[in-house]
Assembly symmetry: C2
Homo-oligomer: 131 residues x 2
């Protein structure tokens, strides 16, 4: 009964190991490129260069059984419920990433600013930033 | 190969038809209550009253085949790709809702401020607000 996600594309990044990935996008994360699968291409029309968007990713390497963790992997922090943290290890490991569109090509390839996910992370949604 | 979501709980709201639901949480949406399923209860420990959190929901009544729409259902707006809108109709209908925790009980029942989703909408994640 519970739904299955559809991947709209994978992220192309120079980050190839989890150790290299910053904890957040504003911590010196590199630019990344998304090329939308053709069947979803219509959906990205009207995204414009310079706009701020939110990417939703599926953090496919996460441990979905984790319910408590140390925030920012700091063993001196209290051991807390994952829902009060941004740990990738959680029952539904969805990443939320506010980024800026640096460029967009006619073929649906979108280059975005600082994104902290590993290469080949699946993209599941794109939304405009809310105010 | 594509992953299946786990519902951590359903939302209890006085909104029982889609027509009643505001388009956004800050448009006079009512308070709502979440009671976490016991198997995920550990994960909500350390969420505190007064804190700002982001709820991720699965908008289960959405049309997952929609790729273009009129923003805010306004037929005078341009017909655009869903990824540049917040339409619930999209390939992976995940709702992102910044809300405030009004109260939290010992049994894991969390009352939150203005939430625009219909009663029984599944909750899939809770995260702290990012700055």
């Amino acid at each position: 009964m519970e739904p299955t996600l559809q991947f709209i594309r994978k992220i192309h990044s120079t980050l190839t190991t989890l150790e290299e990935c910053p904890l957040q996008g504003n911590e010196n994360a590199p630019e990344a490129v998304i090329t939308i699968f053709p069947e979803f291409f219509e959906g990205v029309q009207h995204i414009t260069e310079g706009s701020e968007i939110i990417l939703l990713t599926w953090l496919h390497l996460a441990d979905r059984t984790t319910l408590k963790c140390y925030p920012r992997n700091n063993r001196e922090s209290p051991f807390v419920g994952v829902f009060s943290t941004r740990s990738p290890d959680r029952p539904n490991p969805i990443g939320i990433h506010p980024v800026k569109v640096l460029s967009i090509s006619d073929t649906g390839s979108i280059k975005v600013s600082g994104l902290e996910v590993i290469n080949q992370t699946p993209l599941i949604d794109i939304k405009p930033v809310w105010k």
